[in-house]
Symmetry: D2
Subunit: 311 residues, 4 copies
């Protein structure tokens, strides 16, 4: 029902993943139920089917890059809208059953991405121990709790969930990594503009020199900054390019609205993926006087007078 | 009264000028009265004061370039709107009193511009005769009729008006010259779009690198071609540039209207000088599918749905 | 001979014109001879024929706009180069024979442009006196000296030349007018860059939407400001546009040189009209670090290394 | 030694990976030795250390998107150059030990990415069998050969390498996936231009509105098409944006060289990643007459004459 906050949240599971940690950071535990989904497609599918009201899925990661399953899952299929973005700095712990010490560890498991991001520290902490892959960091924690392995690289929430204790905190080789999750919902009223919003799009343009430039020009003439752009492979459709991009501002803003309408005209396809509060801790560039809603409104009034010959 | 054709036409006089010839070509003699004005400022002034309903004044000439008095007269003062453009290929005749032959001619007079455009032919036709300046080609014809000079370089209409006969036709050194006149009127309903219209503007922008490019970009993103551009000197106002320009299309067209509104926002000043049928015998560039009124309308509808979350 | 200053200067005559005044302000009287020419084409012709070493001709006027005879005279015919620009604020005097007083004046003569620029003051000073046209302001002064008229509107230099005295100084209706003259010479070494130079061009481009924008983009990407642009009528050649423009910088500057070469490639025609010191009392916009000759040089060295694989 | 083909090829191992398959497709088995590396960073490291002459690593995948380890591994650290691109359409087989039939399979293992791309088919072929993760598709094949699992999803080359037989071919849920690998080598002579080349770059620009547009404009004014662009996260460095992009053409081409030099000037940082033959089966857009090397050369000659005053 429009206006009613979603109450059934799907997330990229299983329980104990960073996605769950992100969801907890975004939605108070008491607000609604949580549904772990075995993958991004599954998480999106339960929203599309109506079995969940929203889904929290990863969109991009500062180490791993964009998450194709989410990019493509939003670009195709029934429309979904991003209503919120959530940033989480994953904090990997090396966790074992209570009583375990580092020197006891003979086997360590985790998702291959997590193993990749902690390879250096693991080599120091557990020399000679060969890391083993698991389907998720949370699954690795479960396996440790079940006694299948001695230690897991996982989120603190997974350690807690499975009754493990941390043998070492912050075992990532490179700090500063952050994952951007998005909360997606079925089409419905957009989040109200806050003055510091982002808008996400997928634009498909013909394959000609300057097509991208023309696309970007629609933003530039209206003083709208992009915060992300990525050409997406479209191997199956020769002769077209697909761009996934985020810009500053909200569809309700006059300048953004006019840009969206222009892109709708000039692109082969344009999919609107939502306008939502910016949550990366940065501020949008200030809107100059000539690009405010007031300036657009005043210009519209002027144009009306001009068209009526009242100059 | 809206819809009523102007009936009192001022023009750049005196009687017998090319401006009168252009007016005759544009408005059937029976339609309304004609008021010769001693100069462009005077012609504009009688429209502004309400003593005439419209004025026909020269805007640019393929030999002499733009006519600053008209450019500046429209850019400043109370607003006036161009409602029509009229092209006239001036045809200079060398005219004398009936009975005069070329060999009788001892003196020839005309406006200095006309003398300049016929200097070569005059030297051939009247070797040794020093041309004398007059305040207008029509005044020179009057002087010849009054016996002050033997011959005048003037418009055929002036020869006819003053009872002169042509000693030589088409005495311009360089054929192909054409003068563009505009009919200007007080603010009022714009001429209806015809599908082949022009729009005239004066835009003032700050003096920074790229200011002109930004201005032109507003046309380019909306696929609007310019047909004339001229930077106008603004010596008295350091740090600003004024551009006089004509573009294809009508203010009532969606793409032109959006461009006008954008320029209104981003320029220091923007003066709308009118939308009127193109009359230079050329066709505007075809409007591509993405820039038609229908495309703009469809995009506006799409944006409305997006803003309502009905994607 | 290259390096030798021109010694025979043609100028738009007759003697006593503002062109002569401008020439005097630019070249010390002792330096070379002066040759009055009866018109701009004649002034350019004597340089092309070798009968003069340079010519001073008006290019644009803040009241009258650009001077088509000069624009077209430089754009066509054998190449000439602008080597200097000279600005003169015309100071009109109302001059009569010694002993004449305002109340004695029954007739006043001048070039029609000068009469137009002083019409208001003349009506105040000489109520009821009808102004008479002359072929130049200097010719009017000569006629007054010869007793043909009582007063002339002319340059102070003309009054002096013909032994007239000023009945009133500064009789222009609108102060601040200024004329820009250019000194043109046959092709030869360009004036050395001064750090505050201008470059003049005529560019011909095909008639397609965006052609002008593409042209201007070549300047913008290299951070070069335009100081003047004017579309020139090309009635005789359908489908092409000609632009006359001035930009900041010297052909010897790396950024300007690269822009010129780019325009040479992309324009249908490009005529270089010269690089010369800026003399309008303004400073070019500062060249940013990324557009200096040093930056271009450093980038060229980098590219050489890249092409050699020494990255 | 310049000109000598690399002979020690590192690749993303272990043996039997798709990277090895791509390497085999690109370099005849007899040419040089092959060194499996345990990860992309390791593969790049052995080239940087001199322990290998080149490395074949994945750059982007039509299903999984760009490979951050390769993107970042090339953008940072000692320079490496891409000398070749290799496209491989991964063909997944479900492989078991000889004699195994589908109905015998109780366990199936593979790299999580491969499991994700074959989830649908596996559910059909092996209902009820829970897929198990392995560190690579090749490792899964090895484990099957060792009897640890019954089946593996792997490359045909891995099945062959470990003596397995295919239980099912082409088990990807979605056909058409393709992976783009690049062969990287230490700085050295660039591959000779072929007329159908690509150039790869990483550009870092300041975070201001229009920065990306300015960057792209350098390509557009020189008629260079982009084939890929991606903004890369730079969380650790606030206020800057990093773009990874590929364009058509070779650094040795005049238009590409001028664009590279321009980017070198205007970007905060620019890293050249190589020019190499295009291998995706597409042709670069035709170079128009105004952008050929000949046109650049002719323009350079013209500029030289202009600067010498020989117009």
């Amino acid at each position: 029902m429009p206006g009613t906050p979603p109450t059934r949240y799907a997330y990229l599971g299983p329980e104990g993943t960073f996605a769950e940690a992100a969801l907890i950071s975004a939605v108070a535990p008491g607000e609604g139920s949580r549904i772990p989904a075995p993958g991004v497609p599954a998480a999106l599918a339960v929203v599309r089917s109506g079995d969940a009201d929203a889904a929290l899925v990863p969109l991009e990661n500062s180490v791993e890059g964009s998450v194709p399953a989410t990019m493509d899952g939003l670009a195709e299929g029934d429309p979904l809208l991003i209503t919120r973005e959530v940033f989480l700095a994953p904090s990997f712990v090396l966790a074992g059953r209570p009583g375990t010490t580092l020197s006891d560890v003979r086997s360590v498991a985790s998702h291959p991405h997590a193993l990749a991001q902690t390879a250096g520290r693991l080599a120091q902490l557990l020399p000679g121990v060969v890391p083993l892959p698991a389907t998720s960091t949370a699954e690795a924690a479960r396996q440790v709790a079940a006694g299948e392995h001695d230690a897991a690289v996982c989120a603190p929430i997974a350690a807690e969930r499975y009754g493990l204790t941390a043998l070492a905190d912050d075992v990532a080789d490179r700090s500063g990594a952050v994952t951007r999750f998005v909360l997606v919902a079925p089409p419905g009223p957009l989040p109200a503009p806050t003055g510091n919003d982002k808008t996400s799009l997928v634009a498909v343009v013909g394959d000609r020199t300057g097509a991208l430039l023309d696309l970007l020009r629609e933003f530039a003439v209206r003083e709208i900054s992009l915060t992300r752009i990525e050409s997406r492979p479209t191997r199956e459709r020769l002769g077209v390019y697909s761009f996934s991009l985020d810009c500053e501002g909200h569809a309700a803003d006059a300048r953004v609205g006019e840009a969206l309408a222009a892109l709708h005209r000039v692109c082969d396809e344009l999919r609107f993926l939502g306008s939502y509060p910016r949550a990366d801790g940065r501020e949008n560039k200030p809107v100059t006087d000539v690009s405010t809603d007031a300036a657009f409104g005043e210009a519209a009034g002027w144009l009306e007078r001009v068209r009526a010959g009242r100059v």
